[in-house]
Amino acid sequence: MEAPQYVAARIQQALAEDARTHELGIHVDVRGDQLFLRGQVSGNDQRVRLGEVAHEAAPDLRMHNEIKVVVVNEPGEDEHLD
């Protein structure tokens, strides 16, 4: 079995290199069969695209897209922890 650190590194590389995203600085964590994405982006579309690319890179993992869209006005969005 591939070590989780290597799976995470592979997903991170996909997020950086895929033409749909080219997003650096997204934190990728793999714990068991779960995949967590964290970081900040400037819009919801980019967050969704990052989720898609990550899922394609590791389709067997249950993904939690915790990437945050930077919101300037108060009080910002709620976070749903599922």
Binding site: H27, D29, R31, G32, Q34, F36, R38, E66, K68, E74, P75, G76, D78, E79, H80, L81, D82
Partner: protein, 244 residues
């Protein structure tokens, strides 16, 4: 078929209030009952831990339309008046945790909250240990005692969902942005180890003003640094699903 309800947790730490900003934070809490079912405060409510500052905090939080649970932070201990400040807050209707727990009814669900100030020591592989000088042993023993108390309190807390409320951090990921050299003073992995052992759904902490909001324990429990400067807003809201 079971229906799912959500409990909405508003959380913030490090509000560091004083007389000069009396009334300001209260304004930002207006309408909180529309957005959240409970407010949790992750310590450092004052600047220097004076009774005057403690009273400002108590007045800002008095008779809010949602239950308020708080822990104190190192700043609130600075004047050795932590017990007096806690009393002021309790008189204002705030539940102040001190290495113990409480269960709150939230729209038919039971939300357990366990916690306290927490303490430092550092993170696995790069931490202090109970060895050598008495001062070092006392430092580490203090964190161990706290972690053990939380573990017991968590095991005793029967609830649909359980949240740990701390001032110090249980993990280093939410410290990212702080200088590495001060990590041992910002938190301890012993806190995470205790919570991973006993189980919880979410850990909230403050203290690391330059840190990062989101992280995970080694056991996969979500951790959120809710220090006001990190959030950049009056409070964050985290929604936990509760099966009915």
């Amino acid at each position: 078929m079971s229906t799912l309800t959500e409990v909405r947790i508003a959380a913030v730490g490090d509000i560091h209030l004083g007389e000069d900003v009396r009334g300001e934070y209260r304004k930002r809490l207006e309408g909180i009952e529309e957005r959240a079912d409970v407010l949790m405060l992750a310590g450092d409510l004052t600047r220097h831990g004076t009774l005057e500052e403690g009273r400002v905090v108590a007045d800002e939080l008095r008779d809010l339309p949602v239950p308020v649970v708080a822990v104190l932070g190192n700043h609130d201990y600075h004047s050795d008046l932590q017990h007096e400040i806690a009393s002021e807050l309790r008189d204002a209707g705030v539940t102040v945790l001190d290495d113990d727990g409480v269960v709150i009814e939230c729209g038919g669900s039971k939300l357990g909250v366990v916690g306290g100030k927490g303490f430092g020591g550092g993170f696995a592989g790069k931490c202090a240990s109970e060895f050598g000088e008495r001062e070092i042993k006392d430092f580490v023993a203090h964190t161990r005692y706290i972690a053990e108390s939380w573990k017991i309190a968590l095991k005793e807390t029967q609830a649909d969902r359980r949240v740990v409320l701390s001032h110090y951090s249980p993990i280093k990921e939410t410290l990212e942005g702080e200088p590495l050299e001060i990590y041992p003073f910002l938190g301890s992995y012993l806190l995470a180890e205790a919570v991973d052992t006993a189980g919880a759904d979410l850990i909230l902490h403050g203290h690391a003003h330059k840190g990062t909001e989101k992280g995970l324990t080694p056991g996969g429990i979500r951790v959120r640094n809710v220090a006001l400067p990190v959030l950049g807003k009056a409070y964050a809201v985290y929604c936990l699903e509760c099966g009915e």
